[in-house]
């Protein structure tokens, strides 16, 4: 005889779960993963596998032996962190640095706050920024992307990212039109055949994944729309003022970590605001900071910093931007 269960309503549950969300993100990243293997070959595969394995291992060890609590490596969040972290490094990064990054991401940015759901900052981004500041040389030597079956080039060839070319060129006092010949064309930028971190190069593949996330309703439109909108408006205004030293908005959209950051990291549930209003503010802030760094900052790329800075504001945004309550407008 089965004992009847007693519980409060509702007695049914929707189909969402943490696992489904996390593995949904992983599936969405698969196209970009294939592109990175196509352009960077075995190195890309190696780094991704090492990063995911290291993240899972650190999470397991810390939960099992340090916190002595429930082990939650099955929920997929460590896989997502590992994947995103690997996507954010150049393909020739030494394996040991990758493992250090995974430790910082999981051990410091995630577990020291109490594990999934409690961290303030996006773990993958913390890992990446830590590596960028600690190993600036290794983290900024970008192997040139070469198609997998193209003729062999020597391994040692590295080149700057499009954003790097732009920043350096402008700092030397050259104008956009002089730099155009050195910059990759938009087609190659969309496909990803240029220097950059291994997962961020192909805007098309990342957009494909983003569509999947929208379709599965894992992310909402609020953060990506305001983020990209702010970038377009900001760079558009500058471009209209002086196209000689400010490049057009499209370039900003398809280069660097923009696509990866906007759709996969700014929308990270744990570290982004919860209400629709809050998300709009978050997207706006992140877009603004990204452009400030890209145009006037010391670094050529600002997506990671922008998202991390806005992560810090998230609790404040959650407090300040509450959803509109039903029946509130009439209450004076």
């Amino acid at each position: 005889m089965i004992l009847p269960t007693i519980s409060g309503s509702p007695h049914v549950h929707g189909e969402q779960s943490i696992q489904k969300i996390m593995f949904g993100v992983v599936i969405a990243l698969v196209p970009a993963f294939f592109v990175s293997i196509y352009f960077f070959g075995f190195d890309a595969l190696k780094l991704v596998v090492v990063s995911i394995a290291a993240c899972l291992l650190f999470e397991y060890l810390i939960q099992k032996y340090l916190i002595k609590g429930v082990v939650t490596i099955n929920d997929g969040s460590a896989v997502v962190t590992g994947l995103l972290l690997a996507f954010n490094v150049p393909s020739n990064l030494p394996v040991w640095i990758m493992i250090v990054g995974a430790f910082v991401a999981i051990g410091i940015a995630k577990m020291s706050y109490g594990g999934i759901g409690k961290n303030i900052f996006n773990p993958a981004l913390v890992g990446r920024v830590f590596l960028l500041l600690s190993f600036p040389v290794q983290m900024t030597s970008w192997p040139v992307a070469k198609p997998l079956f193209a003729e062999k080039l020597t391994d040692a060839i590295t080149g700057p990212t499009p954003l790097g070319i732009l920043k350096e060129g402008l700092d030397e006092g050259r104008t956009i039109s002089e730099l155009t010949s050195e910059l990759p064309t938009y087609v190659t930028e969309l496909l990803g055949q240029h220097g950059g971190s291994l997962g961020e190069v192909s805007a098309i593949a990342l957009l494909l994944g983003a569509f999947y996330l929208f379709y599965r309703r894992i992310i909402s439109w609020h953060i990506p729309a305001t983020y990209l909108g702010t970038v377009v408006v900001f760079s558009g205004i500058l471009w209209l003022i002086n196209p000689g030293i400010y490049i057009n908005p499209l370039f900003h959209l398809v280069t660097g970590g923009m696509m990866l950051g906007v759709f996969f990291m700014a929308t990270d549930m744990v570290s982004s605001p919860m209400s629709a209003k809050g998300m709009l503010v978050f997207g706006f802030g992140a877009g603004l900071i990204t452009m400030l760094i890209r145009v006037w900052g010391a670094y050529p790329e600002g997506v990671s910093f922008a998202i991390l800075i806005m992560n810090a504001f998230t609790p404040l945004i959650n407090k300040g931007f509450k959803p509109k309550r039903f029946g509130e407008i009439l209450k004076t």
Binding site: S7, G8, H11, M269, M274, P323, G327
Partner: protein, 444 residues
Amino acid sequence: MLKTFKLGGIHPEEIKLSSDQPIDVLPVPKKVFIPVSQNLGAPSKVLVKKGDIVKAGQLIAKGEAFISSNLHSSVSGTVMKVDKVIDTSGYKREAIVIDVDGDEWDNTIDRSEQIKRDCPLSAKEIIEKLKEMGIVGLGGATFPSHVKLMVPDGKKADLLIINGVECEPYLTSDHRVMMEKGEEIMIGTTILMKGLGVKKAIIGIENNKKDAITYLTDLADKFEGTKVQTLKVKYPQGGEKQLIKALTNREVPSGKLPIEVGCVVNNVGTALAVYEAVQKNKPLFERVVTVTGKSVNKPANFLVRVGTPISELIDQAGGLPQDTGKIISGGPMMGKALVSLDTPVVKGTSGILLMTDRESKRVVVQTCIRCGKCITVCPMGLEPYLLSNLIQHEELEDAEKEGIMDCMECGSCQYTCPSGRPLLDYIRVGKNRVGQMIRNRGKK
């Protein structure tokens, strides 16, 4: 684009298994247990004692407080005792136990099938009649109907809304009532309009009941001032405030009743009961109940006497399935899990849902990942994650500021939560505690 309410809402799987099953009259049981407290508000005062002979339709308990209603015997027979019987609340409460003998109805009740259209009564007489016949809202909240029609001083009603939404999954009793008692519902609607003193009535029906929409739209042409409005399928559209918003775009202010914006909402089942009470002189002692569930043999809609133990209904629907893990009175979103099969049907029972053992267990609770989905789906614009956290830390004052008392317990948040957190459980605790705090404040 179909009308609906804007803020929040979900779309759970509908699973209306019994929507094509005509209403079956359930045989009168051998014994009925009529709980004394069947309406929102004060319980009724028992008028009968052990050994009394009663007829179906006879007054057996009187509602004396302002928000309270009369109770009538649903069968003819002998009162065995007034005892404590387990009811939907999960506790033993006072109930009148009647041993059934034949099926003799009070002779004032008009049992003919003939439809009586004209109502000569005045508004005041209608309200009096509803009070006498013990009519309460049959949508689930069981608010006494005559109180609803009494518009408080300074307020004015201009619209009657008849709720045919039935947004709960599984349930089909309202749907069947609309299909089979359409004309009676329309007459009941006109009576309610008269009682309320309004010229307009809208019947809101969700788009998944197309046959009922067509049928009632044709009928509504014959009744002045009535109109059927199709609504997009969305839960919890059956909530009063959401329905008003969907139909009229008026927003009931927080903490106020629908009359604040000139609306009164009644269920279709209530409209039928009003018709029967006013035109046929029949007190509310039977209602349509859906018996359903994925492993139920014959999901069905029964016309049931109040006080019938639910085991009788389940037997008629093909018996209790082997794998039953949860017995629910009402729908899966807002229904109550029952402790025992002896629980009697009351005026507010809209359905009996039998869930399989696998369905009835909740998912494992994980940590909140701050995805904000509970905020997105909350139809009242609240932040369920925050409320449940505040309550767990006993921050009652803050919970009140965050609007915990606006929550109508629709369960959308808990349904959506990917971490399977018992958000509504804690919010209910909070509503209870905060309510207590507010009442104590009033005393000081």
